[in-house]
């Protein structure tokens, strides 16, 4: 009887297994072990914006443990678990021509609270980081691997700034399920270095079209915060799911293709970014909310475009519905609806980037209105492959 069960399971899953196609894989070069010099933890962006962009992390970085920033102490401890056969990590920096340095740069920090029901608050603690490999002597970036971390916390009152700082502190010191430094080290352990990198891909623009702007909370519309947040999430997913380094989105952060990085030990460099060869534009065209029975459907409709200097290579229209129980969708306030639109958009970007690496034909058919969606996906895969 048990054999019958296994056979049944096998035949049920067989069609899915057959339809799955792997397009992109991690490019591992095991032929060489690279000496990489650890540069430390850095805050990316202009120094005079540090307190406003990273209000919690910048405060935490000033706290000392035996004269060393707690962030440096934390990451130093986590690096004891560093184990990447491709990298020989050295703790002292080298000014030798061609020496590769590695830094972890914080590029986004937010604590965002949404009220649900009468007395329930959901707070998202959001951090965007970049693992940056650069030529230390020339201060030129070789590759950037983005990393995005979220931590959700529910409370019966709106958290104060002190409580938010306390949560971030715990995230840095490993007192919660999510430990920032362990996540960084996990990413470092999976990193593959190569003698030569391919072409450079990155996000050029994030455009929230027409009425979508009306659905975004005012706080996220200030200082292009929503564009930066979406770009960083998209590039982190693209990097993670398609195994490609991504040149960071630059709006409002970088001047003249440079990325200022201030390290927690006080040193600072103006790192030179590579020019993007392949430019991705993401248009968020529409958010739709529909009611059906005891559910609300939150739908995101987007267009992903990619181009080179020779013209547009990809134009792909995608959408994703997310059904949510009415009882769990809040009372329809702007903030509450936004958190669900945001979730549907995140899910769409996550699934889309996974499909680029490993596809299931039904997904593209289901989520795209474009007739030539599969060939558009292939065009984008081609650009990603050349950027690996």
């Amino acid at each position: 009887m048990s054999y019958l069960k296994y056979a049944l399971a096998f035949f049920c899953f067989l069609p899915f297994a057959v339809q799955t196609k792997v397009h992109l894989t991690e490019q591992i070069d095991n032929t060489e072990v690279f000496d990489v010099y650890w540069a430390g933890f850095a805050f990316l962006g202009d120094f005079n914006q540090r307190e406003t962009r990273y209000p919690y992390s910048s405060q935490i970085s000033k706290e000392k443990n035996n004269g060393q920033s707690v962030i440096d102490v934390g990451i130093g401890k986590a690096l004891q678990d560093f184990n990447n056969p491709n990298i020989n990590l050295k703790t002292e920096l080298s000014t030798k021509p061609g020496a590769i340095a590695m830094a972890v740069g914080l590029s986004y920090e937010d604590a965002y609270t949404v009220k649900f029901g009468s007395n329930e608050y959901k707070t998202t603690y959001d951090l965007a980081l970049n693992i940056i490999l650069f030529d230390f002597a020339e201060k030129k970036i070789i590759a950037v691997h983005p990393l995005r971390l979220f931590y959700l916390d529910a409370s019966d009152s709106k958290p104060s700034a002190d409580k938010n700082k306390n949560i971030f502190n715990k995230l840095y010191s490993g007192q919660l399920e999510l430990n920032i430094f362990n996540e960084i080290v996990k990413k470092l352990n999976a990193l593959s270095l190569r003698k030569a990198y391919g072409n450079y891909i990155g996000i050029r623009s994030i455009n929230f079209k027409g009425s979508t702007q009306d659905l975004i909370p005012d706080s996220l519309l200030q200082n292009n915060s929503i564009e930066t947040q979406t770009a960083q999430e998209f590039e982190a997913l693209l990097s993670k799911n398609t195994f490609v380094p991504v040149v960071p989105y630059t709006k409002g952060e970088l001047i003249g293709g440079r990325m200022p990085a201030r390290f927690s030990d006080g040193s600072a460099y103006n790192l030179k970014l590579p020019e993007k060869d392949y430019l991705i534009d993401l248009d968020i065209r529409k958010f739709k909310k529909q009611e059906k029975g005891s559910y609300f459907n939150y739908k995101s409709i987007i267009t992903v475009r990619a181009s080179t200097q020779l013209g547009e290579k990809v134009n792909l229209k995608l959408s994703r519905s997310m059904w949510n129980l009415k009882s769990g969708s809040g009372s329809g306030e702007k903030d509450q609806d936004w958190s669900l639109y945001e979730l549907s958009l995140s899910s769409l970007l996550n699934e889309f980037t996974k499909q680029l690496a490993t596809s299931t034909p039904k997904w593209t058919k289901k989520h795209s209105a474009s007739k030539d969606a599969e060939s558009q996906m292939d065009n984008l895969r081609d650009l990603l492959r050349k950027s690996q």
């Binding site: 072409n199 103006n270 060869d277 080179t308 200097q309």
Partner: protein, 361 residues
């Protein structure tokens, strides 16, 4: 012994420059029209992409040249054909970023990214522009590095004149702030007023202090040795009895006065001529005020460099080149580090400009 020491230093500097390759990347586009590979196909022949890439590489090279400073471009024009005949030696590599085929127009277009070894090109410019035995000519220099010790700023002297006319009265209220003169009246004005006056500006008074000139001495030495000149310390010229004004006296004068007196400048040129030094450079590196760089939060020091280069081989020295004033910035954790970085960059650029000017003559 001193000459040996200098020689050893220059050899070290020369070796250090050989190990650093400064590369630059450029993206460019190239197109070709093609004849289809066969009567049954509209595809381009196999070698079409390589042909279009070659055109794109040439376009990238032109972009690279267009970024040269005037002096470097002038020097490059002297050696252009010999460099461009060996172009592949300076192109570290290229990658095809994208390509497209217009089958109707039978046109293939490629976009390439090209990496060029700029330091190798610069070395060839220096090597190839040697004029006869000029490479073995003596070259001396006197540079002074000075920092603003204090800046005395004067407030603008403002003279305001207010004239108020009150209806039906002959009384006028006049106040002159600048001279602290006031004529007042108890009677208030109400109907019409005009105002005027003048602002007198007075230039800030700057005093200088002298700092070590090791950065410019090192950069000049390195650039001259690389370019094949015989670099001579001005102190050695005085030591040989060719002149009487010492380096210390020249630097002292630069610090106490904005410029050198014509007598001192003439003395430097004469001393160089007496010792058969063909080229002499005189200049200043002025360290301006420091500030905090808003981008990095580091100390930002600005250095302004000015120099004049003379051919001192004949009776009357002839001015054959000049630098600046050009400003360079340096960042650092402290004022000292930022100043060192700014001086190093300014010195490197000044030395390179001088050599390129000599070579482009």
């Amino acid at each position: 012994m001193k000459i040996l020491k200098n020689l050893f230093l220059y050899i070290l500097l020369f070796i250090s420059t050989l190990t650093i390759a400064e590369t630059e990347k450029f993206t460019a586009i190239g197109s070709i029209t093609y004849e289809p590979s066969s009567v049954f196909s509209s595809d381009p022949p196999k070698d079409s992409e390589a042909k279009a890439a070659k055109i794109a590489i040439d376009a990238a090279w032109k972009k690279y040249i267009s970024g040269f400073s005037d002096e470097k471009r002038n020097a490059y024009s002297v050696v252009k054909s010999s460099v461009e005949n060996r172009k592949n030696e300076f192109i570290i590599g290229h990658r095809i970023v994208d390509s497209s085929i217009d089958k109707d127009q039978k046109k293939l277009t490629v976009q390439v990214r090209v990496e060029i070894d700029d330091s190798a090109v610069q070395k060839v410019i220096f090597d190839k522009t040697k004029k006869g035995n000029e490479a073995s000519e003596y070259f001396s220099w006197v540079f002074v590095t000075r920092a603003q010790d204090s800046v005395k700023s004067y407030m603008n002297k403002v003279t305001k004149i207010n004239k108020a006319e009150s209806g039906g009265s002959d009384i006028q209220n006049v106040s002159i702030d600048g001279d602290s003169t006031a004529v007042t009246s108890d009677k208030s004005s109400y109907s019409k007023s005009t105002s005027g006056g003048s602002v007198e500006k007075k230039r800030d008074k700057v005093t200088w202090i002298q700092l070590s000139s090791k950065e410019i001495d090192s950069a000049m030495g390195k650039a001259l040795v690389n370019a094949g000149y015989e670099a001579i310390d001005f102190g050695d010229i005085v030591g040989e009895g060719c002149g009487t004004t010492t380096v210390e006296e020249i630097r002292e004068e630069f610090v106490n006065n904005t410029d050198l007196s014509s007598q001192t400048e003439s003395g430097i040129k004469k001393a160089a001529k007496n010792c058969e030094v063909k080229f002499t450079a005189i200049g200043t590196l002025d360290i301006m005020q420091q500030k905090i760089d808003p981008v990095t939060g580091l100390t930002d020091v600005t250095v302004s460099v000015t120099a004049k280069v003379y051919d001192t081989s004949k009776r009357f020295a002839k001015k054959i080149g000049s630098v600046g004033p050009v400003q360079h910035h340096g960042l650092g954790d402290s004022e000292q580090v930022a100043r060192g970085n700014a001086l190093t960059e300014a010195s490197k650029q000044a030395a390179s400009t001088i050599i390129n000017q000599l070579r482009a003559r």
